[in-house]
């Protein structure tokens, strides 16, 4: 690999041509070493340095660190994602009411601003809640990244917990690209969103191990074609575990909680 096949700096650069076995994959970067003024700092061409590293490798390194910290504490972490308003917070509230008494759950709340979701969950049965406002970063990030989650986790008593649920920022695009150190990704999809969404947001639908099909109690009142949605979902993510649920009525919450604590 040509990584750091570099000249340390201009002054130490000797012009012997053996030194120039760079990784030129194309002819666009012809060298002109035999011409020009070699007495000064003259740009004589370009050196291509191969990198071949994931674009988000720094994020992934931090995500791995989060994963180790969670494993060391024996805590399972689930990254919960959805579009805004699909019902993540309501489902979480149900979840806490349902199993918060028997499972020690920490919630990591990602929000662009405010702690409204965390306030909503207050008293519902979580052992601990940590809020991460993404506006502290880059003017209001549309997702949680590994660094934000590391900061959020540091404010949770991991040693006292069995499960951490990371409620990501409501967004079907960006959160799917960022690993945060979770053991599994889950998504909440509401049937009010339309059947075609798996095709429009394939990265998210493909990333999710489980898809909670929420607001299923509204089915009689909508023109929503459930079979068509399920078929679209299968096209994009054949292995997804589907749970039909209503965070409002409690339907499917048992199955969701079983998967969650799996």
């Amino acid at each position: 690999m040509g990584r750091f096949h570099l000249h340390a700096d201009g002054t130490e650069h000797h012009h012997d041509h053996e030194h120039h076995e760079h990784h030129h994959d194309d002819g666009d970067h012809a060298h002109t070493h035999d011409v020009g003024d070699h007495s000064g700092y003259v740009e004589t061409g370009t050196v291509r340095v191969d990198i071949l590293e994931n674009l988000l490798s720094e994020n992934d390194r931090v995500a791995d660190g989060n994963g180790y910290a969670l494993d060391a504490a024996g805590v399972r972490a689930v990254n919960l994602m959805s579009s805004p308003g699909a019902g993540k917070t309501t489902l979480l509230k149900r979840t806490l009411n349902h199993i918060g008494g028997s499972v020690r759950i920490g919630i990591l709340e990602g929000d662009i601003a405010t702690s409204l979701d965390a306030d909503e969950l207050e008293g519902a049965g979580a052992t601990a809640i940590s809020v991460v406002n993404t506006s502290a970063g880059f003017g209001g990030e549309c997702h949680l990244d590994a660094v934000m989650v590391r900061s959020g986790l540091s404010r949770l008593p991991l040693g006292d917990l069995e499960l951490v649920i990371i409620e990501n920022v409501g967004n079907l695009v960006c959160p799917a690209e960022f690993r945060v150190g979770e053991h599994a990704k889950a998504m909440v999809y509401a049937i009010t969103e339309g059947e075609e969404k798996p095709f429009k947001y394939p990265v998210m639908f493909r990333a999710a191990e489980v898809v909670v099909v929420n607001k299923i109690d509204l089915l009689p009142h909508l023109d929503f074609d459930l079979d068509k949605f399920l078929s679209n979902l299968r096209d994009v993510n054949p292995g997804a575990h589907v749970i039909q649920a209503s965070a409002r009525t409690g339907q499917g919450v048992d199955e969701w909680c079983s998967w969650l604590t799996g």
Binding site: L6, H14, Y41, V49, E141, H143, V173, F199, D235, P238
Partner: protein
């Protein structure tokens, strides 16, 4: 708009590696199955590099189509939609060959003759 965050990561990584040397071009490779908009990436790159020594450095985005190999008819096809099925026979028994690339491929450093 996570393209801005991705750009931020590319800028950081490039500056770290370049360590003060002038970079003329950065090449990234992104598969079609990634939800990244090349124009938004270019736009983010211009904004984020403008106030750094990377100003003027070109961002080259290599886009890779999504291709699958069918385990039933053994044909390799390119996908138009993010549906993992064989375009030749319609089977879902396919292996993804390309399309998920998300790489910082290389950077071109200006060579300085002494």
């Amino acid at each position: 708009m996570h393209e801005l965050s991705i750009c931020d990561a590319i800028v950081d990584s490039t500056r770290q590696r370049a360590d003060g040397r002038r970079v003329t071009q950065v090449t990234v490779r992104i598969g079609h199955l990634r939800q990244v908009v090349p124009d938004a990436l270019q736009f983010g790159w211009e904004i984020l590099t403008d106030t750094t020594e990377l100003k003027g450095c070109e961002l080259v985005i290599e886009q890779v189509p999504a291709t699958v190999a069918c385990r039933e008819c053994h044909v390799e096809t390119t996908l138009d939609m993010p549906i993992l099925c064989c375009s030749a026979c319609g089977s879902f028994e396919v292996t993804l060959l390309t399309g998920e690339e998300f790489l910082l491929v290389s950077m071109d450093l200006a060579e300085v003759g002494a």
